[in-house]
Symmetry: C2
Amino acid sequence: MNRRKAETKAEEWLIEEQTPSYRTQWRVRQVLHEEQTPFQHLQIVEMEDFGRALVLDGAVQTTVGDEFIYHEMIVNVPLFTHPNPERILVIGGGDGGTVREVFRHPSVKKVDMVEIDGAVIAACRRHLPETAAGLDHPGLNLVVGDGIEWVAERKEEYDVILVDSSDPVGPAEGLFNRAFYENVYRALKPAGVFVAQVLSPFFHQRLIRDVYQVVSTIFPITMPYLAVVPTYPSGLHCFMLGSKRFSPLRQGMKTPAWPTRWYTPEVHRTAFQLPPVVAGLVQPVAAVETARKPG
Amino acid sequence: MNRRKAETKAEEWLIEEQTPSYRTQWRVRQVLHEEQTPFQHLQIVEMEDFGRALVLDGAVQTTVGDEFIYHEMIVNVPLFTHPNPERILVIGGGDGGTVREVFRHPSVKKVDMVEIDGAVIAACRRHLPETAAGLDHPGLNLVVGDGIEWVAERKEEYDVILVDSSDPVGPAEGLFNRAFYENVYRALKPAGVFVAQVLSPFFHQRLIRDVYQVVSTIFPITMPYLAVVPTYPSGLHCFMLGSKRFSPLRQGMKTPAWPTRWYTPEVHRTAFQLPPVVAGLVQPVAAVETARKPG
C-alpha cells in the first residue's frame, strides 16, 4: 500500500503554463505544503531536478537549484552600483533569498522588507531554510504589508530599493505602473538605485518595453540587464535598473568579498550588453539612454 | 468533420523530455512532415509560439523563432576569431542555418558541409526555407555523408570547422570523443579555429567537462562560451571553441557588415565571461587555460 502510494507520487508533475502554447513540466517528489492564502495559491514542492521550490498561482517562483542566480543578480548589481548602500528596502522577496544576499554587503545597516503575504514567509521559513536564512538577520525590519503603500509614504529614505515581486498579475499588479515608480524615485536618497524584475525578453516584450518607457522618464539612468535563470520561462530573465546618479558600469566598483556562484564583476558588466533583439525593446538604445533627465 | 479534426490538432502538444524529470510542452498547430530516416525520427512541426521547428528523435533542434541566436553564435564567434576565414567545414547543420550565416562573411570562398542524413536536408529545404536559404549558395559543396570519416581524411585544409550536430546520442555520438577532436585538429590549417555545440551547462555538466578536458589537451587555446537559446533545455547553451593560434578575445576583430539580431562584438566578448558555477566545469579556469600546448 505504501509502496503503491510512493509510486503514484513519483508520477506527479507540476505543469506550469508559460504561455497558452508553451508549458514546462516538473516531476514532483512531494508536495510539502499547499494552501490558499488571502492573496494567492501557495505551494512548496520538492522537484526531482531543481530541489524544493516555491510555487505561487502555479508559477515556479524560486527553486533551491537555481535561486542563487536570481538572488545574486537582483541584489549585487544595484548594491555594487551604489558606492555605500546602507539603507535598503525590499518589496516582496518573501522567500528570503534577496535579504540573504543583501546582508552579505558589509555597508548595509538596516533593511526594511515589505512582503504582502505572510503565509509565503512562514512556508519558506519552514521548508526553504537555505533561502530563508536572511529572514532572521538582526538588521532586518520584516513587515507583512503592502509595499505599494509603504513606498508611497517614504521620502529620500533608501539607498537601494529592490522590487522582488511575483509576476504582474495578482498581488504584484500595482508594482508595474507609473505611480509606483514615481514613489520609488521619491523614496530613494539623491544617489539611490532601484531594480525591479521584469520577466523574460522573449515572453514579456510589451511589459519590458512599457516599464522601460515609464522608468526612463522618471530616472536619469535607466538600464535593463539580463541573467539566465533556467527555471524561468525561456531561461533569460530581465531586470530594470533605475539610478539617480551612479551608472552600473562606473569604474572602480567593488567586488564581492564572499564566494559567489554566478555574480562576478565581469558578469555584472556583461549583463548590460544587450543583444540587438533585446536592445530593440528599449529604444532608442538601452545602454545609451542615460543621463537624459537631470537627477 | 474537418472542423472537428482541426480542433483536435489544435490540442496536440509536442512533449520534449529534457531530463527524466523535466519536460517542455509545445502546442503544435500542424505536423508538416514526419518520417523515420535510416538515422533518426524526423519531424517538422509548426508550433504556436516559435513557428516551424525541426524535431529529431523528439528533441527540438531548431525553430524559426529563435534559430538566429544559435546560428549567429556558432558561426560568428569563430569566423571573427579567425582574421581571414576562407575554407570552412560544417559537420551536421542539415537545416542550413549555419551555412547561411557562414556565407555572410565576405572572406569565405568555399564551404564543405557534411550532413549524415539527407532526409533532414530535404525536409528543411521544403519546410524551413528561411533557415535552409544557405543550402543553395554556389560556394557550397554539400555532401551527404559521415562527417567523422570526412574529417579523418583531411589535413590542414580548413580555416574554420563548425560541428553543428544533434545531441551526443544517436548519429552524433562519435562527434564527442578524442579521436574526432584530434582529426579536427589535423584537418585545420595552422591558424585554424573550431567550435562544437556542447549543450546546457545545467543539464550536461559531465559532457561539457569531458569535452573541455579532451579539447584542451589537443588545442593550445580552448575556451567555452555561452548563448541563450530559449527553446533549448534551461535556455543556456554552451559552445566549445578550440583554436590553434588566435584568441577569440584578441583585439581588432571585425564587426559584421550586415544586420544581426543577437551577435555583436560586445555579445561575443561577454559570451566568454563564465559565471563561477559554469567556470567550475572547466577547471582550472576556462579563460586562463590558454596557450598551454604549443600550436
